[in-house]
Symmetry: C2
Subunit: 347 residues, 2 copies
């Protein structure tokens, strides 16, 4: 077994603290990665605190992982020792169903998607995430990472990046489209960068006037204060797409009404409470409401390659791992621009 160090929570009320544990040996299809950086996703906090159902403790969170490969198994052809690599939200799946065959491992038909942490692998072992110095993973779920980009800013691409890239690609967002991005956080700031890069006119929709300068710096063409009824009114039937990154309850009908005929509201954050949707919000203009969850492995690779080619990374604040609990408190106050990334050299 491989000795690993990390930070773990041991119950839903515990702070994260140093923990030593074992990773499995490097199997024939596995790679071993020395983790360099790991992003902090809001979902880490939900899971550490058992807010999405009971967690498997001890829990080592983290699914925005970049590092360097230090060993490969006998069957590994995809990677060589010394290469940079990334791991996102998944580390396994059945690998032979229709969804897996079509690169949608997150929707494995056999319900065998194995999440990077707080999940059970196919052998029954518990998965541990990226707040750690090492990780062993089946090569299929490991991504190539370019050395052209600042690695620290690459880590959040593995979740926040693919989560926004995937629906923008599915719906073919690009030149000539007007896109509204609702909420400027980890997901929102990536949605702005991608939509701008794809050629769309991008409007940041925010409740906070203080975000205007940053939205513009990230590339947004317009900024609309959603607390101002006049500004909101000017957006009646304005957008082709809205990327809704807000996971707190909010009025979906208000934003659906900003869509043109055939417009699409894509939720990448969702509250636990059911959405209340007026039939007319959809019927008037044949509008579309959808949601999108991460993206499959081939598309994640496509996204990383696109980012390398277009010099796109996440805006981050680098922290030492001892500050992870403070970082959590700041995430909950939306006090981060726009993703905390842990420097695992500090472990």
């Amino acid at each position: 077994m491989i000795n690993a160090k990390g930070y773990a929570a041991h119950s839903k009320t515990d702070a994260l603290q140093p923990w030593e544990f074992e990773r499995r040996e490097v199997g024939a299809d596995d790679v071993l990665i020395d983790i360099l950086y790991c992003g902090i996703c809001h979902s880490d906090i939900h899971q550490v605190r058992s807010e999405w159902g009971p967690a498997i403790y001890p829990i080592v969170p983290g699914h925005e992982i970049v590092g360097r490969i230090t060993a490969v198994g006998a069957n590994v052809s995809k990677f060589k020792v010394g290469e940079l690599a990334g791991i996102g939200c998944m580390v396994n799946s059945c690998q032979h169903c229709d969804s897996c065959d079509h690169g949608q491992e997150q929707f494995c038909d056999n319900k065998q998607t194995v999440w990077t942490y707080n999940s059970r692998d196919k052998d029954g072992s518990v998965t541990y995430g990226g707040y750690s110095n090492k990780i062993v993973c089946d090569q299929h779920f490991v991504l190539h990472v370019s050395d052209k980009l600042d690695l620290k800013g690459v880590a959040p691409l593995l979740c926040a990046g693919i989560t926004t890239y995937s629906p923008l690609r599915k719906w073919k967002v690009g030149k000539g489209h007007k896109v509204g991005v609702l909420g400027l956080g980890g997901l929102g700031h990536m949605a702005v960068k991608f939509a701008v890069s794809f050629g769309a006119e991008v409007t940041m929709l925010s409740t906070s006037p203080s975000k205007e300068a940053d939205a513009k710096r990230l590339g947004a063409h317009k900024f609309v204060l959603t607390k101002d009824p006049e500004q909101v009114k000017s957006l009646d039937r304005y957008f082709d797409f809205i990327i809704d990154t807000v996971s707190a309850p909010h009025d979906y009908n208000r934003y659906l009404q900003m869509l043109k005929t055939d417009g699409v509201q894509i939720c990448v954050g969702l509250p636990p409470e059911p959405l209340s949707i007026a039939g007319n919000s959809l019927m008037r203009g044949n509008r579309v409401l959808t949601a999108s969850s991460i993206g499959g492995i081939p598309e994640t690779q496509e996204m990383l390659d696109y980012c390398a080619e277009h010099n796109i990374t996440s805006d981050i604040e680098l922290i030492d791992i001892k500050d992870v609990n403070t970082a959590y408190e700041r995430v909950l106050k939306s006090d981060v621009k726009y993703r905390f990334v842990i420097d695992l050299a500090t472990l």
Copy 2:
């Protein structure tokens, strides 16, 4: 002015009764149609009874109209006297906005869509519908009707037909797709006919075992009783599309769960109450919820031409106009296969 006869309600509690009124003169862009048949749409009942807001009384309902042209204005090039013609839900719009220019007059950007009855035309006059012997209409909103089809069964195509045809075309439903049709009524039976004609595998989803034989006769390949949990369970992630024709409140999440990854639920009927949608119903499988309202004039013509080519009409029960009030009571009990059509020769 042109003297017309029809059936009208004079208050929201009145039965429909004979009424004589005037239509406008045939203007330069108008055609005059002698109405032969008019379908009864459930929305006629809602409007006659002021269930969708206060109606403009007297109200002459009817927006599934076929007849023969008996006069044309000086500018009319699209029609000749003696030709068959149809009118659906709209009789006017601004005719120069982006939506109108793109054949989506039902979503006129200037909010000048004029409905066939219970609406005000651009000159302020009230519109009266097809429970009448004559109608005058701008040629742009008049459709060519083939003499190859049984005219009685063509009338409901002008609303029930286009309402189901349009979203099936928008979403490119065809060979290789699995389509569920929820509810077997006026809309549902047309959805089955079109989806089958487009090459999809069609499953009728119904609460009533008595509908199985008819669903199969209409072309449905499968029938699933939605009251049977075992049968419902077999549909987990089964469909590419669901056409939801039910306007009574029901559990949308149950049907969303029947959709594959990227599957689409298209509502062509909607309850007045807001829909309660669990975020996960959309997020799992990146599913899509949408609604669709009738269709524009060019697409309505395309649908009529398609029906003429493929011998598609609505299944109807022909009634005398004196029986319209009885027909309304039967519509409310879903006791019609599948559309009442009024023979205006009986007026």
